[in-house]
Symmetry: C2
Subunit: 94 residues, 2 copies
């Protein structure tokens, strides 16, 4: 099981991930905006593909020209390196 | 703008839509289950395509082997025929 990250470690990693933050539910989260609804839906599908590859699955919400991602490591009860791995892979895929 | 449906009209239409109900936020909603995570993600993308065709966009959540859809007509402040049109089209696409 991956270790929970300390608040300091989380803060340090967030500095290199534009737009990501820890949400009210304690998940690593970001809301992306899109010019069209379907480009958002396509992005959501790509994010799901990344999740499946990492075997680490976020909560994905497709809204009107917006897609929200939120992820944490349930088995560890919080945010771990695995969550940042997902976030980094999604950022790279854009 | 489509008219708001009466509670009776909503109840009557729900009888022909398996698994759909009115959720706590007053939206027409259903949660679908899938054998694999990616078949859920593919379904979500198809639902988004239907939404775009109808120009009527739900809240879509992709979770672990589950996809939730919730829709209402914001301009009317509740559930209208348009929401049932979306639900029916999604059911037909499965």
């Amino acid at each position: 099981m991956p270790d929970l990250l300390t608040p300091d470690a989380i803060a340090a990693r967030l500095r290199s991930l534009e737009g990501w933050s820890v949400d009210d539910d304690g998940q690593l989260a970001k809301t992306y905006s899109f010019d069209t609804y379907l480009s958002g839906a396509d992005f959501a599908r790509r994010a799901a593909g990344i999740a499946e590859t990492l075997n680490h699955h976020p909560d994905i919400r497709i809204l009107w020209r917006k897609v929200s991602l939120a992820i944490s490591t349930h088995s560890a009860g919080g945010i771990t390196e695995l969550d940042f791995e997902f976030a980094t892979a999604v950022e790279r895929s854009r």
